[in-house]
């Protein structure tokens, strides 16, 4: 269940894409072997984002193809093959660090869609649907908080990742709380006179991320 929410978020927020730049960052310190890169990546993300060896080598091959890393020509492919960053790679990394991720257009959020559907569906209590999601999110937050409680003092990277997750989940709970209140107030009011209003400007400009 957790991985469902997690994977969607990971891909949406460019988590998978940034492996490329995380590897460039590690190589900017010193030339390294593939296996070493995997271990260091995991250690520095508090072991929250595991990486398999295949992902590491595929990414390295692409980086080499793009001219961002070089490898030892003579060594066979495998754990003993060393990689180093090129000048182009260093420039790519510096550019990536300062480029904000695309947060301008709202993501197509599955939870928002579920609530929008629940509001219109006859025979469905939207407040009950909201509560089911709220409970699940708070349960997740409890697990992250316990992780912070147990290990946050010893592992700085982990503490940073855990904070980010707790704030992300918290913002979803706050949205649910706000939606809950808004729907309750709306139910007490008579329905407004139906008319075709022009679409808000933001919808026209931004579009939805797919």
């Amino acid at each position: 269940m957790y991985t469902q929410y997690y994977t969607a978020h990971d891909i949406e927020c460019g988590g998978v894409m940034s492996i490329r730049h995380a590897l460039l960052a590690l190589l900017s310190e010193a030339p390294k072997y593939g296996l070493q890169l995997r271990e260091e990546f995991e250690a520095r993300t508090g072991e929250v984002w595991p990486l398999n060896v295949g992902q590491v080598y595929t990414t390295l091959q692409r980086l080499e193809r793009d001219g961002f890393v070089e490898s030892d020509d003579d060594a066979d492919p495998g754990p003993q093959k060393g990689f180093r960053i090129t000048a182009d790679g260093a420039q790519e990394l510096a550019g990536w660090l300062r480029t904000p991720p695309d947060l301008a257009s709202p993501p197509r959020d599955e939870l928002v869609i579920k609530i929008l559907v629940a509001v219109r569906l006859p025979g469905v209590d939207v407040h009950e649907v909201i509560q089911a999601h709220r409970r699940y999110l708070v349960e997740l937050m409890q697990q992250w908080t316990q992780l912070k409680e147990d290990e946050g003092d010893v592992d700085l990277s982990l503490a940073l990742v855990v904070d980010a997750e707790i704030y992300r989940l918290d913002s979803v709970v706050r949205w649910l709380d706000t939606a809950d209140g808004r729907l309750k107030r709306a139910a007490l009011k008579p329905p407004p006179h139906a008319k075709t209003a022009p679409a808000p400007q933001i919808r026209r400009r931004a579009g939805v991320r797919r």
């Binding site: 957790y2 991985t3 997690y6 072991e47 929250v48 984002w49 595991p50 990486l51 398999n52 407040h127 509560q131 709220r134 409970r135 999110l137 708070v138 349960e139 997740l140 937050m141 409890q142 697990q143 992250w144 908080t145 316990q146 992780l147 409680e149 147990d150 290990e151 707790i166 989940l169 918290d170 709970v173 706050r174 709380d177 809950d180 209140g181």
Partner: protein
């Protein structure tokens, strides 16, 4: 196991003019020793009423409350007041420290009220402050302390002596995130020493420190979290390797 707090079918109805207001309806809640339970709900959901009834500050219209196995309904007013002083500690959002007393005097006050000699009460107060890292603040007045320090003094006051139950109402409300986190760690430490705690809040981050979260809406308990499975379940990759 007997809970330090057991609320059994508790209801509370107020009269607002001719209207009956149902602040709590048929609430069951048990808090075991060593556990923290968060009660989460929006404002007006009844969570503060729940806390004042759990703390024997108000009596329910129906149902019963047991503190450490003792039924409040069966107790005389005096016995109830004694139990309240001895067994229950309160932490409020705005700290509620007495401005004319030093930190140590604030912490010692409930023990003195309970008939302990001034010397003994003061010694116990200093010990509680020391445990919360506030030994060097003992002689200061509340207005000479930071917000975080004031809340730590309030927690020392809530756990001093032989307290069994700590009741907290939005205890980190006015504090920044770091200080709020420190406050939650202190309440958790008290729980690990055997105290049971109820924290009422609208804040999911705060609630996530609890062993169990109870959701309250319109005076009713509508939902509860499952027991915590432990943080290992988060490391999604472990299974994939």
């Amino acid at each position: 196991m007997t809970g330090v707090l057991e609320m059994r079918a508790v209801s509370k109805t107020y009269l607002d003019g001719a209207d009956e207001v149902h602040a709590l309806r048929d609430v069951d809640l048990t808090v075991e020793p060593g556990k923290m339970v968060a009660v989460m709900g929006p404002s007006g959901s009844g969570k503060s009423t729940l806390l004042t009834i759990a703390g024997a500050l108000e009596t329910p219209t129906a149902g019963d409350v047991l503190i450490a196995g003792h039924s409040l309904a069966a107790m005389s007013r005096d016995d109830r007041a004694r139990l309240r002083r001895r067994a229950i500690g309160y932490v409020f959002q705005d700290f509620n420290l007495l401005p004319g007393l030093t930190a140590a005097e604030n912490v010692a006050l409930p023990l003195e009220l309970d008939g302990l000699s001034a010397g003994k009460a003061r010694a116990a107060g200093l010990r509680a402050l020391d445990e919360l890292g506030l030994a060097d603040r003992a002689a200061r007045f509340p207005d000479q302390l930071s917000g975080g320090e004031r809340q730590r003094v309030a927690i020392a006051r809530a756990v001093v002596g032989d307290r069994r139950l700590v009741l907290a109402d939005e205890p980190t409300g006015a504090l920044d995130t770091d200080t709020g986190e420190a406050v939650m760690r202190l309440i958790l430490t008290a729980c690990k020493a055997g105290v049971g705690a109820v924290v009422v809040t609208h804040d999911a981050q705060l609630a996530s420190w609890a062993d169990r979260v109870v959701f309250i809406r319109d005076g009713r308990v509508v939902d509860r979290t499952a027991p915590r499975p432990g943080p290992d379940s988060l490391l999604a990759g472990e299974a994939a390797r």
